[in-house]
């Protein structure tokens, strides 16, 4: 009994008090800062080294929807690419995820996610999500679980993961969509009543990531179903996920 009390006292308050003001440590690789004036050869070396083909040149740009934030390009860029620790990376438009030197973080942050009135009205007070892992490696899945843990406590905003698509307002997809999971994902999506939202989490879900060239994936789902929110990362930090949702809901 005393041990239990001692444990409770030692545990204290673990929840991060103000998520909106929270910072992550310097080491974290988030929003890339691109300074093309410093690139000795236009970033060709970076393009070659990128494992997911996220980098293009003339002008030098990074597609956060493909980027796995491995940081390899940083080493070959002669200062042209630097990953900052800005973790707010979500976007409601796929094309906004392509970052060039002209786009600074503040601009991206202000424009990437459009908070729509109807979304706020529908889901602003309560958003229930069904997660489907379709070839996900368990990295994104662990971070999505962490978003609801004692530290991040996403439930305080009325956002929760639920067990049945019938109880959900939307689906959160991780993984490149393996062929064997494509039908099940479609079924889960169809089981959610309208209006519903689709959130693609991680490089694999957004672009196929490392598995884009595999013949064992089937991404037809995304041809048929529009995505409302893209959350980049490999895996995305729980802050990235929570912030994107709060912006999306206009909270």
């Amino acid at each position: 009994m005393f041990d239990l009390l001692k444990l409770r006292i030692r545990h204290g308050k673990q929840a991060i008090p103000d998520i909106r003001k929270a910072k992550v440590m310097e080491a974290f690789r988030g929003f890339p800062i691109i300074d093309e004036t410093r690139s000795w050869n236009g970033g060709v070396g970076c393009k070659e080294i990128c494992p997911t083909g996220a980098i293009d040149v003339n002008p030098l740009r990074i597609d956060l929807g493909k980027c796995i934030f491995c940081g390899e390009c940083e080493k070959f860029s002669d200062g042209a690419i630097k990953f900052s620790n800005q973790y707010r990376l979500g976007s409601s438009k796929r094309e906004s995820l392509v970052i060039a030197s002209s786009k600074i973080f503040e601009e991206f942050d202000n424009t990437a996610i459009e908070a729509k009135k109807e979304i706020h009205k529908l889901f602003g007070r309560s958003l229930k999500l069904r997660q489907v892992s379709a070839g996900g490696c368990n990295g994104c899945e662990l971070e999505l679980n962490a978003a609801s843990n004692v530290n991040f406590d996403m439930g305080r905003f009325g956002i929760d993961f639920v067990a049945s698509p019938r109880h959900a307002d939307g689906v959160v997809i991780t993984g490149p969509i393996s062929s064997n999971m494509a039908p099940a994902l479609k079924d889960a999506y169809n089981s959610i009543s309208e209006p519903k939202i689709v959130i693609a989490v991680g490089a694999c879900a957004i672009s196929g990531g490392l598995f884009a060239d595999s013949n064992q994936i089937n991404r037809k789902f995304f041809d048929e179903v529009p995505v409302n929110l893209f959350i980049p990362g490999c895996p995305p930090h729980p802050f990235t996920f929570i912030h994107a949702l709060l912006d999306f809901l206009g909270k």
């Binding site: 041990d3 491995c70 997660q131 368990n138 899945e141 393996s178 099940a184 490392l210 595999s214 490999c234």
Partner: protein, 495 residues
């Protein structure tokens, strides 16, 4: 010579792997198994007009591996070893599925992974084991499960609440990982990232195993400093996941104090990994030839303070968790895997150690930092959920001590040494002890020194069958608890 005797990470010319007639190979396999060896790899390689089968057995006491091979013509068959040695059962199914060479007499021949080409579509139909009788009913779960976890299909044959049989159909996560390794053989950075994503919860485990395999195939040297950093990262990974598992196990029996306190401890540990390399799961830390990130003095100090606090916290929380009668009532005698069963099916990792099978690659086939600091093997006997939970607690404490020792050891040398080209026509087996158990990668290079086969075995490959056996005669409501106590990977199995 009927076997090529090698050690973990010792690359040998491919020609030195003896090629035997299958019938004599089978006799020799059974002979070795009866001497106490066990199978660690069993995989095919497509040659011009035939298929080569490579078999690697491990003698854990002597830290030796034995490799041999045999050739099959296409569409051939062989006499199954499974009726005599059960631990071959899934290896043979996988080999059949990938190359169409049929193990004749296999008692349970069906696809290892759902719907993957290789055998005819007719045989690719997955037939579930069924039971008939009054009041026997089936419960199907998945592929999509209730929580945020990976997909797989579970089919229970129950009598009332009691599970008679569970069959697990996997393969939903199949992403063609082994093919991608060969498709991208020219891009070493890509391969390293890919190895990190074999299963995203064992980033350091798989990336380290891959990096060591490639280093061995190219005789690339690594510094003492980098192997110490790698070993620290691998133990941080073990602690992080074990804490998460204890948290989830407590949550599964509705013991919320345990759930939240272990969960909060996990956050601190994975944040320590992030402080080293910028990723909570250790992405980008491991490189072929060393590591990409250093642990400087300040970081060392921080990690060691975090560990000191963690040790006190974890001991207190474990004391509370494991003395709570409501927890013990659910943990004890639930999901028992006996020592005999564990041996027979070839269980590995903490699950095996919880059933009294003393296997730990860190001790048996040491690599990286474990060649400098030996690890004492820890085992428990009861093989139930309690043992699989408790072994995690003792392993957390053990890993804290290992990291402390490593942090204090003097480090010299560079972070990363330049990696050499791979030697042509070589064979290597790279084993390591991930938090889930024994990871085994095997690599073969061609005449040009390029990867021509890369085989991956996650510990989940050995252990899924144990989940099916553990839940027999338990209540179906205890299934989530049993399943979590193994915490196996779907993507690591499905590849």
């Amino acid at each position: 010579m009927s076997w090529c005797e090698i050690k973990n990470l010792q690359s040998v010319p491919l020609d030195e792997i003896p090629q035997l007639e299958y019938s004599s190979l089978k006799t020799k396999i059974i002979e070795k198994i009866s001497e106490g060896c066990r199978v660690v790899q069993f995989f095919g390689d497509k040659l011009k007009d035939c298929v080569a089968l490579y078999i690697v057995l491990a003698d854990d006491e002597q830290s030796k591996l034995f490799a041999a091979s045999t050739l099959f013509s296409e569409g051939g068959s062989f006499e199954s070893i499974t009726p005599e040695v059960q631990s071959f059962h899934l290896f043979e199914r996988e080999f059949y599925e990938q190359f169409g060479i049929k193990p004749v007499g296999h008692p349970w021949l069906k696809p290892a992974r759902k719907g993957i080409a290789g055998i005819s579509s007719e045989e690719n139909q997955y037939e579930f084991f069924t039971m008939e009788g009054e009041e026997v009913h089936e419960v199907g779960v998945g592929p999509i499960h209730a929580g945020i976890i990976e997909p797989g299909h579970f089919r229970f044959s129950c009598h009332g609440e009691q599970i008679y049989h569970l069959e697990i159909e996997l393969g939903f996560q199949h992403r063609g990982v082994e093919d991608l390794f060969l498709k991208n053989k020219n891009k070493p950075e890509f391969l390293l990232n890919l190895s990190e994503s074999i299963t995203g919860d064992t980033v350091i485990g798989h990336a380290g195993t891959f990096a060591r395999a490639i280093e061995s195939l190219g005789e690339t040297d690594v510094s003492r400093k980098s192997i110490i950093i790698r070993t620290i990262a691998s133990e941080l990974e073990r602690i992080g996941i074990h804490l998460g598992d204890l948290s989830a196990l407590a949550g599964d029996v509705a013991y919320l104090t345990g759930n939240s306190s272990f969960g909060a401890m996990r956050t601190k540990i994975i944040n320590s990994t992030m402080a080293i390399c910028g990723s909570r799961f250790g992405h980008s830390l491991i490189a072929v030839g060393g590591v990409n990130y250093d642990i400087n003095k300040e970081l060392k100090e921080n990690i060691s303070q975090t560990l000191n606090k963690l040790e006190e916290d974890v001991e207190l929380a474990a004391e509370v968790l494991f003395s709570s009668s409501s927890v013990l009532a659910r943990f004890e005698k639930t999901g028992v895997v006996s020592f005999e069963t564990a041996k027979e099916i070839g269980l590995v990792g903490p699950a095996a150690r919880a059933s009294g099978v003393a296997l730990d690659v860190r001790t048996d086939h040491p690599y990286d930092g474990f060649t400098l600091f030996p690890v004492h093997k820890l085992t428990l006997k009861s093989g139930d959920v309690f043992a699989r939970a408790y072994i995690r607690y003792v392993e957390i404490i053990q890993s804290i001590k290992i990291i402390r020792e490593l942090l204090e050891s003097p480090v010299e040398g560079e972070l990363k040494k330049p990696s050499n080209d791979l030697l042509p026509k070589r064979f290597v087996v790279s084993m390591s002890e991930g938090w889930r158990g024994e990871i085994v990668h095997a690599g073969i290079t061609d005449e040009e020194g390029q990867l021509k086969r890369y085989k991956i075995k996650d510990p989940s490959f050995n252990n899924w069958i144990a989940v099916a056996l553990a839940v027999r005669n338990n209540g179906i409501s205890d299934f989530p608890l049993c399943n979590k106590s193994f915490n196996l990977s779907y993507s690591g199995f499905d590849l």
